[in-house]
């Protein structure tokens, strides 16, 4: 069976060159970077080299602006809490977009429990930040604005330059979570006007176990993981040298390969979306159309009248790995807050499937996916009471309303009311 990995947003395999770069650091060059002897000094060199590679990927001024953490989540925690704690006396107000990743959202909620306040700036139906609302949200006591570069769920590219300009005007440092873009789209901290940027190499063919936080001198930042004086006192703990080395190599390769990555995935993205639209009725793309406002790797779909987990499982049984933001696939039984923030009808959020492309995907993969996915949708619609009720005019479609029947949500509410618990 053909294997088609369409979940590059979740993780990517480590490139052979990256793995080769890492290898010596497990066994031969195993030292602790804090040690003053050969073994420690050798890995310090490696650390420094990687910092340079990371800085180059995002056009940072200097390698000294690069801090290593354990992952993108920790980088986000450090950016949010580290700035909040450092500026406690200046002000306790934060501004974030409504569609930040949970690592940002939950960090903010934690701070709210500790007495900070936060304004969540809404996005439009495509997931694009509303700039006027951002401007209105910034107050004299605002110490940080956090807006991601690309949305992890729906692939929307945010107007970061404009966001950066608003921040510059108001003198508030800007943190840009680039986890969903770095390695796949140019990231330029200077063009962004970003005081901080975070990303994670495992998303662009680097290893897990390392996250990056860029911070220029504009942002005061204190440590959130306390202990030794590693990472200039900004992150205590023994550095994960092999992952840092591999991550650096992955960054270097990404920088060179970037135009090719964009071209390759954009071609497949448009073929895939076009094919899906043609074959499957009542399917919708969430977020902007493929083009300058959407990252070339991501398709976020809603297949009406069926639920996401079933689609995901049947894809998997056919060798196709995809993700979903439906409530059934989340441990909290909640739909992705991003889908909620763009005001997606619950029925469509439930049918959510996310396909994210990578360099190993081929035209044949796309065609196999189109064929297979169409069959899966047919099979699941055949099992779905909603599809049947739509055929019979009991409920209507959200994607292509016929004017007959009540809404799916109304119907769901009606039958849920019947439930015994």
């Amino acid at each position: 069976m053909r294997q088609v990995y369409l979940d590059h947003q979740a993780s990517t395999p480590v490139l052979p060159e990256v793995f080769d770069a890492m290898k010596p650091y497990f066994t031969e060059a195993f030292g602790n970077a804090s040690s003053l002897h050969q073994h420690g000094l050798r890995v310090r060199e490696a650390l420094k080299r990687s910092r340079g590679q990371m800085a180059a990927l995002i056009n940072a001024d200097s390698a000294e602006e690069i801090f290593f953490t354990s992952d993108g989540t920790e980088s986000a925690n450090l950016a949010i809490k580290g700035v909040a704690y450092a500026n406690e006396r200046r002000g306790k107000h934060l501004v974030v977009s409504a569609t930040e990743h949970p690592s940002v959202m939950q960090s903010v909620e934690f701070l709210e429990r500790q007495g900070w306040t936060c304004t969540r700036v809404p996005v439009d139906a495509d997931g694009t930040l509303q700039l006027e609302a951002l401007r209105a949200a910034i107050r004299p006591e605002t110490v940080l604005v956090a807006v991601h570069h690309v949305n992890h769920d729906i692939g929307t590219i945010q107007p970061i330059r404009e966001v950066g300009r608003v921040c510059a005007e108001t003198g508030v440092p800007l943190y840009v979570d680039c986890e969903a873009s770095a390695g796949w789209l140019p990231v330029d901290v200077r063009e962004f006007g970003a005081a901080m940027v975070s990303f994670s190499p495992h998303r662009f063919y680097g290893p897990k176990g390392v996250g990056v936080l860029y911070r220029n001198k504009k942002a005061r930042l204190v440590s959130v993981i306390h202990g030794g004086v590693q990472e200039g006192g900004r992150r205590a703990g023994t550095e994960n040298i092999p992952a840092i080395v591999g991550g650096g190599m992955a960054a270097e390769i990404s920088l060179t390969e970037l135009p090719r990555r964009i071209a390759h995935t954009a071609t497949l993205q448009s073929r895939l979306w076009k094919g899906l639209k043609e074959r499957i009725p009542y399917i919708r793309l969430n977020g902007p159309e493929p083009g300058p406002r959407r990252i070339s790797t991501n398709l976020n779909l809603s297949t009406e009248f069926i639920e996401g987990e079933g689609q995901l499982l049947l894809c998997d049984l056919n060798g196709i790995a995809v993700a979903s933001g439906s409530s059934c696939v989340s441990k909290s039984l909640k739909i992705s807050h991003v889908l909620a923030a763009i005001g997606l009808d619950h029925a469509l959020a439930q049918g959510n499937i996310i396909m994210t492309l990578g360099m190993a995907n081929t035209v044949e993969d796309v065609d196999y996916t189109l064929e297979t996915f169409a069959k899966i949708v047919t099979k699941l619609r055949g099992m779905s009471p909603m599809w049947d009720e739509f055929q019979r005019g009991v409920i209507d479609s959200v994607i292509a309303p016929t004017g007959r029947g009540k809404s799916f949500s109304q119907h769901a509410a009606d039958v849920s009311g019947k439930a015994a618990h």
Partner: protein
């Protein structure tokens, strides 16, 4: 990959991939459709009943793999039972017959129980002469 990794155990997967009793019954004697407020799943069960016994059962489900498997298994289990027996049907039977469900998915089996009971209720409503025999609403509420 050499090995196959599945989210659910092989029984659940089997019922998800090849659901039993999928569809609608023409001229059903009782139909129940319920939704789970928690996750948004919807399940519909239709029953063919004669002589106080469930002769046939069908389901349709809008929901995750375990919801589909639960309805498949529930319809399998209740075929041949009397109305009284079916009134005492519990989701635990579904869970056990499926060889277990992840904790976060137990509510899918509850949904199957509820859909079944809604179908029985519908049947009883259409046959008021049975009402004294089986206090459906109480059982359902239990």
């Amino acid at each position: 990959m050499s090995e196959t990794y599945t989210l659910y155990n092989s029984t659940v997967m089997e019922h998800f991939m090849n659901p039993r009793n999928m569809g609608d019954l023409k001229d059903a004697d009782g139909v129940g459709e319920v939704g789970a407020a928690a996750c948004g799943d919807i399940m519909k069960i239709s029953l063919k009943i004669s002589n106080g016994r469930i002769e046939d059962a069908r389901f349709k489900t809008f929901g995750c793999g375990s919801a589909i498997a639960s309805s498949s298994m529930a319809t399998e289990l209740i075929k041949g039972r009397t109305i009284d027996e079916a009134m005492n049907f519990s989701n635990q039977e579904v869970v056990d017959a499926l060889g277990g469900l992840p904790p976060v998915k137990i509510h899918c089996s509850v949904l199957a129980e509820e859909a079944l009971k809604a179908a029985l209720e519908d049947y009883v409503k259409k046959h008021p002469e049975l009402a004294h025999k089986s206090p459906a609403s109480e059982t359902v509420a239990a």
